[in-house]
């Protein structure tokens, strides 16, 4: 019999203790793997999603992180709005005049170009209105540019494609301003097809649904991004819904003038009458300025009282650095402690058995086993428990990863695959187990090494 089978026999003889110590090791390692997997997925999804293809989000003054979460991840509470006229300052070249001609209404100095237009050459600005829901999904009112100009994917180089239908348009002969595109999860969940109607409900998931619906004309291919969870409606139609008309405000106090939040008179769904500029607001503006202008632009915008500009990548990096990574380390520390405690329980279990085994050791020595043989057998026992428990824990941890998809996928958009190694730290598990197993075995092995033979025969 070789040393390995001798060690295995000894473990089998103390079945219960071996099983329990291996179990505690399995539990610890499973927890470590789970923490690594989930934190890896969260980090990856945050990093990936914050790489959005625009440099800045401009919105009302307030929490920058909330603006990012609201705009990029469709999470968190809706934020305040800024006037549509403010958005028009970011339009490149003669964009401001063209936009004014398209919409109409009251605008000061309509003939001049936007104040920031000189920084926007070759870039774009896309307006978003948020705050409504379609069932439990966020309703995002925007322009067709959202899918026309933005890209997605890890390298941000993939065009948005539609598994069914097409992008919505500014005005269609069939549905007027009331076209919509939905993300893949929304379509699956609500059973939507091109031609289905969706209704935005005001303010909250449970809010009152607007009477005017939008016709789904396209369903996005899955992107693995929060856009899979979005219901995108034409901003022109959105403004025509009840309650989406911005009231006039007193110039001194900023308070709203009662009875001024009136929509335009329209005849039928196909009417081409739009909500005038002065009654429009936007929640966020996605900005891709010209070249390297983003940095200076962010500073300039943030100096104003009116609005803030935030860089999603900067905010997410900040979040990762301040919150996610330290939290991961904290969890990793706690779960590693479980692993260390189970290593200690291996130590205690084997050490406790040493008293009963003094005679065994003496007999083996009398059969010609050297001190090194005895030491090796004890170390092997400890290593076997640590590795067997650890391996089971590793498998269980990875099996639990996909099971947690139901919980993590809707928010992160990242699917955890079986045995997908989410963190390079996982590569340390096996050397770590060997180290811990050896350490746990070292003390009893030393005791075994010193066991006097003659006195135990």
């Amino acid at each position: 019999m070789n040393l390995l089978s001798i060690a295995l026999r000894n473990l089998r003889y103390r079945k219960l203790a071996s099983f329990l110590t291996a179990l505690s090791m399995a539990l610890g390692v499973a927890l470590v793997v789970l923490v690594l997997t989930i934190s890896g997925v969260i980090e990856k999804s945050l990093e990936k999603t914050s790489n959005v293809g625009y440099n800045l989000i401009v919105g009302a003054k307030g929490s920058p992180l909330q603006l990012v979460f609201n705009t990029v991840f469709f999470l968190s509470q809706p934020v305040e709005n800024v006037p549509y006229a403010y958005y028009m300052e970011y339009l490149p070249a003669d964009g401001r005049q063209k936009e004014y001609q398209r919409i109409g209404g009251e605008l000061k100095e309509p003939e001049r170009s936007g104040l920031y237009s000189f920084l926007m050459q070759g870039g774009f600005a896309i307006p978003l209105c948020m705050g409504d829901y379609v069932d439990e999904f966020r309703c995002v009112a925007t322009t067709p540019d959202y899918f026309g100009l933005l890209k997605h994917g890890d390298l941000n180089d993939q065009d948005y494609r539609f598994s069914q239908g097409r992008n919505f348009v500014d005005y269609s002969e069939d549905y007027g301003f009331f076209e919509a595109v939905v993300g893949s999860q929304v379509a699956d969940r609500l059973g939507l097809k091109p031609g289905s109607q969706i209704f935005a409900s005001h303010g909250a998931e449970s809010g009152q649904a607007h009477g005017q619906g939008f016709v789904v004309v396209g369903i996005l291919e899955p992107t693995g991004s929060p856009n899979d969870r979005g219901a995108f409606v034409n901003i022109e139609g959105f403004y025509l819904l009840e309650g989406h008309v911005a009231p006039e405000r007193d110039e001194e106090s900023g308070l709203e003038k009662r009875g001024t939040a009136q929509g335009p008179q329209r005849q039928g769904v196909l009417s081409k009458v739009r909500l005038p500029v002065e009654k429009r607001e936007v929640t966020a503006i996605l900005l891709k300025p010209n070249g390297f202008a983003a940095m200076s632009m962010e500073k300039q915008i943030n100096k104003t009282k009116f609005a803030q500009a935030v860089s999603p990548i900067g905010q997410i990096e900040g979040l990762l650095g301040v919150f996610v990574r330290p939290l991961r380390w904290a969890f990793l520390g706690l779960t590693s402690l479980v692993v260390i405690v189970s290593a200690i329980s291996i130590l205690v279990s084997i050490y406790n058995s040493m008293n009963d085994r003094k005679k065994d050791i003496a007999v083996m020595r009398a059969l010609g086993a050297s001190r090194d043989h005895i030491t090796a057998i004890i170390l092997l026992e400890s290593l076997l428990i640590a590795l067997a428990g650890g391996l089971v824990g590793w498998l269980v941890g990875h099996a639990l990863g996909p099971l947690s998809n139901a919980w993590t996928m809707p928010t992160t958009g990242v699917k955890i695959d079986w045995f997908a190694v989410q963190s390079r730290w996982e590569l340390w598990i096996v050397p770590g187990l060997v180290f811990l197993g050896t350490m746990a075995g070292a003390i009893p092995a030393m005791a075994a090494y010193r066991t006097p033979v003659a006195r135990n025969l």
Partner: protein, 233 residues
């Protein structure tokens, strides 16, 4: 002694072993000027309790180091070797049967016998292990754990284990002390017979007159061990 030192299998010369006394100072346990065993010879060792029989067997096997003197096995001086080397020699050339607790409880009878082959360099011959268990009459108990065997059966497994490695010297320390007289007879018969068949020299410690009377060479430790003479004077 009739054999010359050269043809002796085991030859002991001026062997001394001391133990620290609890109160301080050293107590001489063994002081053996000369003791020899020839190849295949069967020797019974007798002596009062506490006279140093077990200690002598320990020292010969290398489990306990001697303090001075010479122990030669097949003419090779063992005292010069390190503990690890003595372990290897014990594994390869000696078999040991104890009074009690011979078997490891986690291992079956067969595994216990195979354990006897585990620490010597060489082939692990499972057929040899089975054959020996057959010869001690335990062919139907091979896969029993020690806890499932009677004391006599356990001792027979121990005999098989001590012989499995084809040793040249079998050390048996009161192997029948816990066996009833009828079985004691058969046990000794078995050991003597197996040793003879494999031409293994035997050094057997016993308190039993009946056992001793079976053997032609019976040594009183008090005759060999000068430590006892000085102490008793």
């Amino acid at each position: 002694m009739s054999q010359s030192q050269d043809c002796a299998l085991l030859s002991i010369c001026d062997l001394k072993k001391f133990y620290d006394q609890p109160g301080g100072g050293k107590l001489t346990i063994l002081d053996v000027p000369e003791f020899q065993i020839a190849r295949g010879e069967q020797v019974v060792l007798r002596g009062e309790s506490g006279s140093g029989k077990t200690t002598l067997l320990h020292v010969i096997s290398g489990i306990v180091p001697a303090d001075s003197g010479s122990i030669r096995l097949e003419g090779v001086e063992l005292m010069q070797f390190s503990e690890a080397k003595r372990d290897r020699i014990r594994a390869a050339k000696m078999g040991y049967v104890f009074q009690t607790f011979n078997l490891l409880p986690a291992f079956t009878a067969l595994e216990n016998v195979r354990l006897g082959m585990s620490f010597a360099r060489g082939e692990l011959d499972i057929e040899r292990a089975k054959d020996l268990l057959n010869r001690v009459g335990l062919h139907d108990r091979m896969h029993y754990l020690p806890g499932q065997l009677s004391v006599g059966q356990q001792q027979r497994v121990a005999v098989a284990r001590a012989l499995v490695n084809r040793p040249i010297l079998l050390l048996a320390d009161e192997p029948t002390a816990n066996v009833d007289p009828a079985n004691q007879e058969r046990m000794i018969e078995l050991i003597a017979k197996q040793c003879q068949e494999e031409s293994v020299a035997l050094l057997l410690v016993t308190h039993s007159d009946a056992v001793a009377s079976r053997f032609s060479r019976v040594e009183q430790l008090s005759e060999i061990n000068r430590a006892l003479r000085t102490a008793s004077v």
